[in-house]
Symmetry: C2
Amino acid sequence: MELVAIGTVESPLRDRASAPKQGDEGAPEAWLVFDADVAEGLDGIAAGDELLVLTWLDRAQRGVLRVHPRGDPARPEQGVFNTRSPDRPNPIGLHRVIVISIDGVRLRVSALEALDGTPIIDVKPLLRGIDER
Amino acid sequence: MELVAIGTVESPLRDRASAPKQGDEGAPEAWLVFDADVAEGLDGIAAGDELLVLTWLDRAQRGVLRVHPRGDPARPEQGVFNTRSPDRPNPIGLHRVIVISIDGVRLRVSALEALDGTPIIDVKPLLRGIDER
């Protein structure tokens, strides 16, 4: 099960210490910069769309199975699968964003907590009600 | 970027033709069977919890960049990143489920459209409001 990068995040966020834990906790706008060879896969995405972006959190630790939620030592340890910790066996980030603008293979998106240089591995539309699918 | 399987789906669904396109379109209950070496990562998950399960859709085609939405030839082709098609460069399935019961490393979950034998790659809690995190 080998992932391929389909693009990269361009963000002012450079390290974990300065990044908010979730997008809606003050994360900045960012660019999703896609590789030219997957450009066709973006057809139909428009400004205003809500997307789920999946990333590979390449600065996470994969050997971790228990963490203090939100890194707060006052909170009892939990299994990583019961938290949103980036540290987990497969460090996949899941980010809900809104497309602000599109410039070729570059998508400007709202509040994204992923760090600069993070590989993008998938993008999915937010799932609507059954009648609208 | 090499994924490790953390478990496997046990489901009555055997092939894509018989599987609903989304969990809420009539998918059956299923078991998530985790590997013993990640059992600690499940600590804190309880019956009634809502989870996001990430799977590796091992019967998907990775070379596809455009599809007819929902496989319906009457609908114009779209880029795969604007659809929930399993066929895409990194065939990661994203499933929202409710935990029905827990038996050691086996979690019984509601409506899951993943096929029997599908590798599980991650589990995350549904994100609550900022005040509850």
